[in-house]
Each structure stands twice: as structure tokens, then as C-alpha cells.
Symmetry: C2
Subunit: 198 residues, 2 copies
């Protein structure tokens, strides 16, 4: 029997996460069952349960997958030698969201919107959403602190409050993109540049 | 038999809308059935169907009810003699959202989040959401035009794009308020004042 390598394990895990993403996009979080995910993945029930015990665990993995490269993105912004501005962070984040949404395998922002609704009545999803958005907001807070140090943002306002507004612009973009449909990074960032000081 | 007055009709209609709001908040849009709404309202099935043919129609009425006073709010902002700024509109809109959310009978922003998720797979809900958010964004666009005329916002940027960003700040606030829970109008508007030119 071949040894199950770590690479093999990760590929299997990714296969399950992709199957769950497809199910949630097509049927909604609520209607999707573990049986649907198992069928869509083409794996056995035993194999799937070996990786994930519940839909909630898979949704956490979808979120993890979608947000995994965000920290890198912010580290890159904070590493620049020029003055950091909120607009730089917003531009990078919005372009990133669209790039992730357009990946093959279905628009993961559709899963995010399902997760927000589900979070209101499912404590495990709520904990995941709260955790992920708190981390993401922490990244915007780091940008705000850096911008304050650089003199591009008023240093007398709590960076946490500035981060609340910057974070809000991500779901606000995602929703308009899916519901009204006419917003693009270009139009949105042009609007932000008109409104923002820096 | 007493004549059914218009007042009586409106009270019955409000009773059904309130019942549906309670059901959607407690059970989610997806699990809520017309039978649940009928039971919660205390009216007969015939009475309820006399007002609404489907869950979709009731959700449209919940949205209508929640957004009905927004136009007035924007007309008040635009009627001011002082220079209009995006921050004035944002402050008024955020305070309004919290006032509506805190009305007795359940937080209607929880229904909004359910509606966003449902819109992705239900064309009737999508049409309602698209319509309502387009109207709301049109109000922010009127503010942007006025601010451009007053000289508080760069006149060379399309007011539609500015409105995309201002509209985004409403669901972005609503989500953080319900999911992370630490955002208030005071903290959020302080953050916006640090970021915005005017």
C-alpha cells in the first residue's frame, strides 16, 4: 500500500473544499448537506469525514482558503518604503477580492454572503466569521497605524475606528458587485479617491 | 358587518409584516414558510394570502418598511443651506440604520443579511434587493452631486462612483455590528472623519 503523503492529503482536502464551495454556491449553505459534499467530491463518506466532521468545519476551511493570502498582501503594503495610505490598502484589498472571486471553481464571495446569513443563527459559523473579520480588520488597523506614523492620516483618531471603515468597504463592494452588478475596482477606487484624504 | 377601513387594512398588513420579520429573524429566510407567518400573525390563511401571495412579497414589504423613511432623510440633508458633505449623509444614514434596527419587533438588519444570501438564488428577492439598493445609492449620488456643486467634493469624479463607496459603508457597518459587535455610530463616524476629506 502506498504511503499517504502530506501532498496527497492536501490535494484530497482541497478537493473536498472545492466540492463544498460548488454545493454552497449552487444550493445555498442551508440546503447543502454533508451527503451533497461527499457526492460532489467523488470521495467516500469515510474519506470526507476523515478531513471534516461537519459543514461548519468545511465553511471555515473555505474562508481560510479565500483569506490565506491576505496577510501576505498586507505585509507587502507595510513593507513599502514610500508613505502608506489607506487608499493603497483599499486598492490592494479590492483587487485581491476580485482576483479570488474570479478563480476557477466558483465565486467564493457567494459563499461569504451565505456565511454572513448563516452566522446569525449558527454559533460555529458566527465564531469563524467573527474570527476571520477580526484578523482582516487587524490588518487594516496596522495600515492605519503606519499611515498615522507616516503622516498621511490624522494621528489623533483611534486606528481601530479607521479600520472599521476600511474593513466595511470590502463586504460593501462584494454585495454591490453581486447584487447591483455595476461596480468594478476602477469605479469604486475612483469614488474612494474622491472621498479620501489619502 | 363593519366596513373594512383603509386604516384597518394597513394595521393587518403591518401585523403580517411584523410576524414575518419575527419568523425570519428566528428561523432564517429559508426555513420560514407561509404557514409559519400565518401562525405567528394569529390571522387566518385567507387573510394573510389576501395581502401577500408569497414569502418574497412579504420580504419586499419588510424592506419597503425599513427603507420607507430614507428618502425623507436625504431630502432633509439636501435641503440644508450649509454646504453638504458626504460625512453629513453618512452620519445621518448610520444613525438612521441603528434607530431602525433598534425598533421593537426585532432587528430588521438581520432580515437584510438573510435577504442578501437569498437574493443569490432567488430572482424575486434579487430583483427587490437590486431595486432597493439602487434607489438608496441614488440618494447618495444626489448628495455627491450637491457636494460637488458646493465644492466639498472633487467635481471631476463621477458621482455614481462616489455613491458606490458611500452605499458600501451601510452594509459594511451592519455586518460588523452584528458579527464583530463592537462598532457603534460614534466609533465608525470617527473613523470616517479621519479618512474623508469632507
Amino acid at each position: 500500500m502506498p504511503k499517504v503523503t502530506e501532498e496527497h492529503r492536501l490535494a484530497r482536502r482541497a478537493q473536498i473544499v472545492a466540492a463544498a464551495r460548488t454545493c454552497v454556491i449552487e444550493e445555498g449553505f442551508h440546503k447543502t448537506t454533508m451527503a451533497d459534499v461527499i457526492r460532489e467530491s467523488g470521495l467516500s463518506a469515510g474519506a470526507v469525514y476523515g478531513y471534516f466532521k461537519s459543514k461548519e468545519e468545511i465553511v471555515a476551511a473555505i474562508a481560510e482558503d479565500a483569506l490565506s493570502t491576505i496577510d501576505e498582501l498586507f505585509q507587502k503594503i507595510l513593507a513599502t518604503e514610500q508613505a502608506v495610505t489607506p487608499l493603497m490598502a483599499l486598492e490592494a484589498a479590492i483587487n485581491h477580492v476580485v482576483a479570488v472571486a474570479e478563480r476557477p471553481g466558483g465565486d467564493v464571495t457567494r459563499v461569504a454572503i451565505q456565511a454572513w446569513a448563516e452566522a446569525l443563527r449558527n454559533p460555529a459559523i458566527m465564531a469563524t466569521a467573527c474570527d476571520k473579520y477580526t484578523v482582516l480588520r487587524g490588518n487594516f488597523e496596522a495600515v492605519a497605524r503606519r499611515a498615522q506614523a507616516d503622516g498621511t492620516v490624522d494621528p489623533d483618531v483611534a486606528p481601530e475606528y479607521i479600520a472599521q471603515v476600511l474593513l466595511a468597504l470590502i463586504p460593501g463592494f462584494v454585495l454591490q458587485r453581486l447584487i447591483i452588478g455595476d461596480v468594478t475596482p476602477d469605479t469604486y477606487l475612483a469614488g474612494a479617491r474622491a472621498l479620501f484624504r489619502s
